[in-house]
Symmetry: C2
Subunit: 590 residues, 2 copies
Amino acid sequence: MGKRTHSGHLTSEYVEEDVLLKGWVQKRRDLGGLIFVDLRDRSGIVQVVFNPDNNKEALEVAEKLRSEFVIEVKGTVKKRDEATVNPKMKTGEIEVVAHDVTILNRSKALPIQIEDDTDATEEVRLKYRYLDLRRQEMQETMKLRHEISQSFRRYLGHHGFYEMETPMLTKSTPEGARDYLVPSRVHPGEFYALPQSPQLFKQLLMVSGYERYFQITRCFRDEDLRADRQPEFTQLDIETSFMDQEEIMDLTEEMLQQVVKDVKDVEIPTPFPRMTYDEAMERYGSDKPDTRFGLELVNVNDVVKNSGFNVFKSAVESGGKVSAINVKGAADQFSRKDIDKLTEAVKVYGAKGLAWIKVDQGSFTGPIAKFFEQDEVEALSNKLDTEDQDLLLFVADKTNVVADSLGALRLKLGKELDIIDESKLNFLWVTDWPLFEYDEDENRYHAAHHPFTMPQLTDIDRIEDDPANVKAQAYDVVLNGYELGGGSLRIYEKDLQAKMLKALGFTEEEANEQFGFLLEALEFGAPPHGGIALGLDRTVMILAGKTNLRDTILFPKTASASDLLTDAPSQVSSNQLDELNLKLNKKSAE
Amino acid sequence: MGKRTHSGHLTSEYVEEDVLLKGWVQKRRDLGGLIFVDLRDRSGIVQVVFNPDNNKEALEVAEKLRSEFVIEVKGTVKKRDEATVNPKMKTGEIEVVAHDVTILNRSKALPIQIEDDTDATEEVRLKYRYLDLRRQEMQETMKLRHEISQSFRRYLGHHGFYEMETPMLTKSTPEGARDYLVPSRVHPGEFYALPQSPQLFKQLLMVSGYERYFQITRCFRDEDLRADRQPEFTQLDIETSFMDQEEIMDLTEEMLQQVVKDVKDVEIPTPFPRMTYDEAMERYGSDKPDTRFGLELVNVNDVVKNSGFNVFKSAVESGGKVSAINVKGAADQFSRKDIDKLTEAVKVYGAKGLAWIKVDQGSFTGPIAKFFEQDEVEALSNKLDTEDQDLLLFVADKTNVVADSLGALRLKLGKELDIIDESKLNFLWVTDWPLFEYDEDENRYHAAHHPFTMPQLTDIDRIEDDPANVKAQAYDVVLNGYELGGGSLRIYEKDLQAKMLKALGFTEEEANEQFGFLLEALEFGAPPHGGIALGLDRTVMILAGKTNLRDTILFPKTASASDLLTDAPSQVSSNQLDELNLKLNKKSAE
C-alpha cells in the first residue's frame, strides 16, 4: 500500500507520482461529471479529482462524500491545466487524480464550520471544541504554542538548566490567592492544595544544590475570572543559584530573543529598556506600560499647585496629584459628548472627573481654561509640549486613582485613535518594585509579590518601621502592555525570612506552622538564589497576535470556570463523598 | 570580579588561571598550618588550599568554615605536587590556592550526611528531602530524568509531534481507578477530577485533526499505594491518527532506542521481541515477563493428566493446569526447609502447595516421585529438559493461580540465585491482550485496559456474547519485567463505542451522561487513531538502575500519600471549607 503522503506537501515535484492520502473532506464540488474534493490534513489541502474514465467505482464512492468525512485516497499527482492553476494554494499547481477511495469515517452536519472566520458564538465553540480546534487558525496557534515551549526548553537545556518536576498535591498556605483544595481519603479531614506556583519547591531545589532549574508547569488559582485569567494556567518557571539580578535579567532577555527568533524569525533588540516601578506609574499609570505608543501621563503638580482651579490645588495640597495626557491635534475630534464618554470611563477607576482643555492658537479653551493665569498657561504648555489643536485631559485625585484612571484612559485612547503599531514587540523591564502593599480592607501589609522576595539591601532596616518604602529586588518583564512574567531574588537567610513573615503579621507559631520547613531549610547552607516565571499562555497569545487567552489553550474554562465540552465540574456520587469523609452543605445539597 | 568558574570543570588546563568559585564546603581538613577545603558545586568537587603566606585573613575566615557552609572563593589554580595528586578525582591534578573567601551562608550540623551511601532512614530522607537531594546519587538521577525527558521531546518533535497541554481540572468518571476530586467554589456541590490520564482529551485532539500529539504530563490515582506507585506520577503520552498498530510499535521502538542511546550510550536492538499475552502468562506467569533469565514455566498438562498423583490429575480434569519450573542443577542447594519457604511464598498467591522432584542420575526422587510411571518420568524429563541434579517445582491449580504463584516464584528464584544480568535492558512487546476482564466481586466485566480500546476486528461480533474471548488491539512495552507503558488502537466509530459501553454494563443514559461528548465527537469525522503511554518515573528508575520509584521523584509521597517535608495533606480553615460548601463528616471532624 505504501506510505502515506501529506496533502499540504504536494507540489509539482510530485507530478506523476502515486500517492496515498488520508484526511478530511474540506469541500466537494461536482462539475461536468467530475467530482472535485479538497482533501485536508494537518499539513494542508490538496485538490483530488474523481473522473469516470479513471475509476468508476471511486467516482461512485465520491458521490457519497460530505464535508468532514474521513477518507483514504490513492491517486496520481498531475499538473493542472494552466487555466485551473490556483496561485492562492500552496498545492495549487497540481491535483491528485484518484484511482481509489475508502471512507474511513462519516460525519454528521457540523454545528460549526471549519473556516478561518467563524461566526459561531464562543459558547458553541467551547462545547464543540474538538471541531473549533480543526480550524486552521487554531491549528496554527497550537503549533506555535508547541514551538514556543520547545524553544524555551532548548535554550534552557543548552544553558545547563534541568527541567525538574515539582509536586501537584501540595500543602495549602493562606498567603496569596485562593487555593484549589483536594480532599485526602487516607487522612480524613485533611486536604492537599494544587500549587499556585512551584515557588517553595523551586527554592528548596536551590537549597539542594541544583543551581539551575526550570519547569513548564501548570499552576492553579481559584479566583474570580477575568478575560485574561484561567483557573489553571501554564508557567515557565526558572530558578538559579549564585546569579544576581542583572545576570537573571540578561539570561531572560537572551532567552526571549532566541524564542522570538525561533518562532517568528524576528530579531528583537537587547538589552530591553528598563523603567522603575515608580516611573512606570508616573508616566504610564501602569505597572506594565504598553510602550508602543505615546500619550504619556505628565505630572503637572508644580504648575497647578497654586492654581485658581480649586480641584487641582486641593488635590496637590492633600497629598494627591494632578496629571495630564496631551492628545496631540485631537481637539476637533472630540466633542463634549465624546469627552463625557471619556469621563465615564475614568470614573470606573474612582476618578471624580476628567478636566479638559483644548489648545486654540496658543490659548486655552474649555470650561476650566479661565482658571489659569498666563504664566500657568505657558508653564503647562511648556510641560505638556502643546501645539495648536491639542486636547489636554486632566485627572486630579489621590495618586493611585490618577494612575489607574489615566492609565486606563491612555490605553482606551490608544486603541480608539488607532495609534498602536500592532507589528511591534515592545519588551520592557519594570524594576524596583515595592516589597509590600497596603491592604486597606484588612488594615495590614501584604507581600506585593510573595513573602520570599528579597528586599533591596539598603532598605532592610525599614522592614519593620517603614514597610511602605521598602523596595524589592524584583523585576517584571512586560510585553506590549502585558505582564509577561515576574521575578525576584529570594531571601536565603533564616533571620531575614522570619523578620519578613513577622512584618506580614505572622506570629512565630503561625510562621512555623506554615513555613517551618522553609525556615529550617534556610539554616542548612541555602545559597543566594532567585528566578523568574513567565506566563506561557500569555506569551503564546501575544506572539500569535491574539487578544483572548482562551484562543491559546486547547480546552479552556469559561468565566465561571466550567468546561462546556465535558461538563466539568459536575456532581459526584455519595459514595465518592463518603470515601472522602465529606458532606455537602445544605446550601449546595439543595 | 569576573565570571564564576565551576569546581568540577577545573583541570590542569586551568593552571595559573585566577578563578571565582561558589559552592558548598564538602569537607575541611587542617594540616600543618594549612586548611584544605573540598568545595562542591553541581559540577563536582575541587580542593581549595588556604595558607598563611597567601592571605592571612582568608585563612582566618577558613577556620570558621564548617560542612555545608556556602562560600565564594577567589584563587589561582595550581598544579599539585606529584605526591598529592588524587587520581580518583576528576580535578585531582590541581588545587585552588585561595586569595579570598566570603561566607555566603552558614549551615547547622546536618541531620543526614551528604554522602553516596546514606544510612538515614527513608523517613528522615523524605523529611529533609532538600538535603537528601544534595547527594551525588540523587543529583545524577535527577539529571538523568531531565535528559530522558528532553530526549523523548527531541525525538517526538523531530517526528512532527506537537506537545499539547490537556486540562488538569476535568470531569470525574466512575470507570477506572479512584479519582482525586477538587471541589468547585463557583458551582456549589460540584467537583472537578484530576486526570488519571489525558485519554479522552488526546482522543479528542485526534478528532480535531492534530494527527500527532504528545505530552509529558502528571496523572493522578487515589489508590492504596504499593512500592512502585505514587498518587501523582508522570506519563509520556502519545497519540496518532492514521497509524496502525505496527507503525505505532515501530515508532515507539525507534524512540526508545534513541533515548537509551542518548542517555546511556547503549545501542539496543530493534525490533523488540514480541509475545502474546497468552504466551507470556503461559511461559512466565506474568503479563510483563522479565526475560533477562530463564526459569520459564512449562505446562505439563498432557503428561500428567492421567497421572497417579491425584493433585495433578484433578487440577487438569477440573479445567486447571499443572506447570513446572526446572531449577537447573539446584537439587543440592535446596533443603526441605528451603523448599518449605518456597511453598510459603507460592501460598501468598493462592496456591495450595508446591510439589517438587529432584533428578538423581536419571530418576526422580522426593515425596511425589513414586506416583509417576517410567513413561511419565521420561515424558516429563523430555518436556522439562532435565539433567542430573535439577530441581523441578510444580504448581497444580486454577490457571490464574498457577500463573501468579509460579510467576512470582520465578522472580524470587531469579533474584535469590543471582542469575539476573543487571546490565541487560530487555525490551519486549506483549500483544493480543484480552479486551475485558471479569470482576468476580462485582459479577461483571471491566475493560481490561480502558473502555475506548479497539477490539481485534475478527472478535467484534463476540463483544456481547463471548466477551471473555475478545482480544484487544493493545500492546504493552515491557522492560526487565516492568510494564514501561501500554497502548492500543482506539474505537473511532460511535456505534462500536456505544456497544462497548453497553457490554460494560452502562445503560444508554449512563453512557450519554458520562461519555456523551465522546460519542458525539465520534460522529463528526473521527479518524482512526491510537497511541501509547509510557511511565516516565519507571523509565527513569530502570535506566538509573534503581529499584525504588521514590528515588526518581524529587518530592515523593509516602505509602500513606503524605509529604513529610511540607506536611501535606493538612487541615484547612473552616473559612476555606465554607467557601467550598463542604462540611467534614463527624468521623473526620472528631
